[in-house]
């Protein structure tokens, strides 16, 4: 292990410590996610005024936009964790990368579904080959590729390393795809609709959006903690610390 990694990070990366810390973080993160989510959605769906052009249809952005941000944020986390997993062969990084993938894929799917629901009243069609939507679709395929590759291996750690490599290739690929799709759109003069417009968003629309975004971040943290904990127990099945936990749970 490299020496420049601070000691506390090194300690945190040991499975038993992470298991304990993640277990402590999870309920708080989940509670914050639910609370902020409720506040943000109340602000967005009830308090915020209807849009003068789109009426109430725009309110789907309080789901759509935070999901879209999360889909990219989680991919970035996965890429960084995958990089660490490949360079330092850190078990925790493998776990974080691989357990992030399904959460990210879910957010991407929500983005696509809410985008197409929004597209119907906005553009009169469920799907449009808009640069942003197309890139998001490609992102979903990247996530599915990573998940598929991870599960194709019998050795899970090896699968995690291979899938991490694919995730890193994807990090390079996403901007290229976005660039090429934008170029393709100008070439074909498609129905490029500017989703957000250039006008500044009103404050009573903006704050719920930011609060929901924060809620999704906490939800991701809570979900990742839970997934990583179960995965660590599974991976470290034979170790002493897992046995201790199992004994403690078995005791009435």
């Amino acid at each position: 292990m490299s020496t420049w990694i601070p000691l506390w990070m090194h300690k945190l990366a040991s499975p038993p410590t992470f298991y304990r810390v993640a277990g402590a973080i999870r309920p708080w993160a989940l509670a914050l996610a639910l609370l902020l989510g409720a506040i943000g959605l109340y602000g967005g769906l009830v308090l915020a005024p209807p849009d003068y052009q789109q009426g109430d249809a725009y309110r789907i952005i309080f789901i759509h936009v935070p999901s879209a941000w999360m889909s990219m944020f989680i991919y970035a986390v996965m890429g960084v964790a995958g990089f660490v997993a490949l360079i330092w062969r850190l078990k925790l990084a493998e776990v974080v990368a691989m357990q992030s993938a399904p959460i990210g894929a879910a957010f991407t799917a929500i983005t696509l579904a809410s985008g197409s629901l929004w597209g119907k009243p906005m553009w009169g069609t469920w799907w449009t080959w808009d640069a942003r939507l197309t890139s998001e679709l490609v992102l979903l395929f990247l996530y599915l590729g990573v998940i598929g590759l991870y599960h194709a291996f019998e050795d899970r750690r090896q699968g995690a390393r291979a899938a991490s490599f694919l995730a890193i290739i994807g990090v390079i690929n996403v901007p290229i795809v976005h660039f090429s799709v934008v170029w393709w759109n100008t070439l074909h003069q498609g129905s490029t609709v500017n989703v957000f417009g250039h006008s500044k968003m009103a404050w009573d629309m903006l704050w719920p959006l930011l609060v929901v975004t924060l809620a999704t971040k906490f939800y991701y943290a809570a979900s990742l903690c839970a997934r990583a904990r179960t995965d660590l127990l599974d991976l470290e099945g034979g170790k002493d610390w897992v046995r201790k936990i199992a004994d403690a749970e078995a005791r009435p």
Partner: protein
């Protein structure tokens, strides 16, 4: 023990290339498969869409490109399969040469045996769909850059799946995001040529991507094989 002769990289690369081409020649029946597949798919389009000249002309470039890429995907899965099965890949990794270079030779051999026949047949397929002759050079040039890109990128992904139970569908899923830009630029060049617009810019993008990939992909391929075989 044999005399110690300085190992030369060129001899090794030549041996690699010669062996793979020889193997392809011994199984030359397999070489026809991707071509046959491309012909079948292309022929089905007019039956599905009707023999309307204007419509076929409009889709010709795109259909031929996608067909060629799918035909290549069909052959991609086999790139390392037999080498892993019979242990030649281990020998390759143990040779005193940079593995990336030897893998590059393997990819070259694969491109020569699967993509080159497809490029040769592509103008015929495009002609069947009434692609104007003026757009042919753009199509061939686009394929000349797009197919090696696909071989190189595909090789990295095939290497990643090397340690798994073989699954062609997974490979397709992994390759799709990578080949979206390739398809866009290649088809863009053909479409521009068809409309009488300048079409060199997208080809130049493809060429730039090709040069970058030809350097990086063999290295990535070697790294991926290390990961996939190290269990």
């Amino acid at each position: 023990m044999a005399e110690r002769v300085p190992a030369t990289v060129t001899t090794a690369c030549a041996a690699m290339l010669r062996r793979d081409l020889l193997l392809a020649w011994r199984q030359r029946g397999d070489l026809a498969m991707p071509v046959l597949y491309a012909v079948i798919v292309t022929v089905l389009f007019p039956f599905a869409l009707g023999p309307d000249l204007a419509l076929l002309q409009r889709i010709a470039g795109g259909v031929v490109l996608v067909t060629v890429l799918l035909a290549m995907l069909l052959a991609l899965d086999a790139m390392f399969a037999s080498d892993i099965e019979d242990g030649s890949l281990e020998q390759l990794l143990l040779a005193p040469q940079p593995p990336a270079l030897l893998l590059g030779m393997k990819i070259l051999a694969h491109w020569l045996t699967t993509a080159l026949p497809l490029i040769v047949i592509a103008p015929v397929l495009a002609g069947m769909l009434h692609l104007p002759t003026a757009a042919m050079p753009a199509l061939v040039l686009a394929l000349l850059f797009a197919t090696p890109l696909l071989s190189l990128l595909g090789a990295v992904l095939v290497a990643l799946t090397a340690g798994t139970r073989r699954s062609g569908m997974l490979l397709a899923l992994m390759l799709l995001p990578l080949c979206v830009p390739v398809v866009i630029f290649a088809a863009g060049a053909v479409a521009a040529a068809q409309q009488g617009l300048p079409w060199l810019a997208p080809i130049a993008w493809l060429a730039a991507a090709f040069i970058l990939t030809v350097v990086l992909a063999p290295l990535a391929c070697a790294a991926a094989l290390r990961i996939a075989l190290d269990s």
